[in-house]
Assembly symmetry: C2
């Protein structure tokens, strides 16, 4: 009964109500995967969990999918954001893909003093996130925000959302992650990954002075930004998130 | 004084003793980086730390590098191995690159019951590791072993080397990572990442029955093998390795 194909549909999923697929989705199902009428696929929209759906051709090249019954309940990851400074295209793609896999709610590309990126293709990154969620069996689609200067984000930051700062230039300084509150959610958090060139002295001074910033060490070796993102998200999830207490008490 | 270029040389580094560079290294320094006589580079061989060296052209197309003085002492990462089942080329490259960045001593590609890979290019993966260490500022070069069947590795396994098993099919089962021994090294360990198709029932039963295997959870979402490798190494390093106690007590 496990459907091999998973599709993200940005429409409400209601039992028995056929949904018209986008032309490229119809092409993928009918021509690439060669599914016939009545074939079963899994669909999700990021809000209504996962559903088993039946595929029907629609017109000459179109297709529809009809949700049959839910297979997984809706689920949201912990209230965790990832802030990172976009770098080369391949590694930026990698970071958003991994963030989607590891469970975050929002992905915020930031401009720092030492970041070169002046623009990103937000729509392309969002599509990349959707693809990653389709492939890794997820049911929640994190939103990719527009590129914004870190300084401006910090100006308007809600201090209730704590920041796990991974700052190579400051290993061993500052407070680490707190103990998880017993039996309660950890509250809103964000992981902030420094750019490959590091933070500027101004940025570093400001970040370290903020009362909601927690500095975490990622060890004595220099990590690339994409490696640091996965490592930091793993530490946060194991310590405060929903990875359970098997690995870390 | 920070040298921009780092080269791995598989020769002893002795003060004042010129080393002949490989033709592709000479080409890289003289033609790509356009370094002139006397230019400073950083060199390391995985054993003698990092040295500042002076470049001299040698003949028509060759070059030599003379170690001037050590800039960083030798250092080895914790006694940690990474065992993983090779998959697609790009993700296999990624895993060995990340393992080199994150600090492991050996990288062991393994064949599992559900792995398709019948061979790997060990020399190519080893060269990829060297390149990753050059770029991430490391001084230790992990060795890439030949592809070997997991079952045979386990037949000859030294039980003193404990295994952190990341097994999606068995989250919540078994013992997690132990407390770090106070003030002492954690002893030899290996992280074993399951293949994308999971372990076979036979493999899983055998692994879970081994007294030196510790099952660790990587959360409720399905991670790709490359993501799982980085996440597991991060958890191990933070808990038992040399990432210090800032992030995790």
């Amino acid at each position: 009964m496990d459907a091999k194909v998973r599709l993200h549909l940005d429409q409400p999923l209601v039992q028995g109500q056929p949904l018209t697929l986008a032309p490229e989705q119809a092409h993928y199902l009918l021509n690439v995967m060669r599914l016939g009428p009545g074939a079963r696929i899994a669909v999700f929209n990021g809000r209504d969990g996962e559903w088993l759906a039946a595929v029907e051709p629609d017109g000459r090249r179109g297709a529809r999918a009809t949700p049959l019954h839910p297979t997984r309940p809706p689920g949201t990851p912990p209230d965790l954001w990832l802030l990172f400074a976009p770098i080369k295209k391949a590694r930026t793609d990698f970071i958003v893909e991994k963030a989607a896999e590891m469970g975050v709610r929002r992905i915020l590309p930031v401009q720092t003093d030492f970041t070169n990126a002046e623009r990103i293709r937000r729509d392309r990154l969002q599509a990349h996130v959707v693809e990653a969620v389709e492939q890794c069996g997820g049911i929640f689609v994190p939103e990719v925000a527009e590129l914004a200067p870190l300084a401006r984000l910090l100006d308007g930051w809600d201090g209730a959302r704590r920041i796990m700062l991974c700052d190579e230039g400051a290993a061993g300084q500052g407070r680490g992650l707190p103990e998880p509150p017993p039996g309660a959610a950890p509250g809103p958090w964000a992981v902030l990954i420094g750019p490959e060139g590091g933070f500027s002295p101004t940025e570093r001074a400001r970040l370290h002075a903020l009362p909601f910033v927690h500095v975490a060490s990622l060890g004595p070796r220099i990590l690339r930004a994409d490696t640091a993102a996965v490592a930091a998200l793993a530490l946060w999830q194991a310590r405060l998130g929903d990875w359970g207490s098997v690995a870390l008490p």
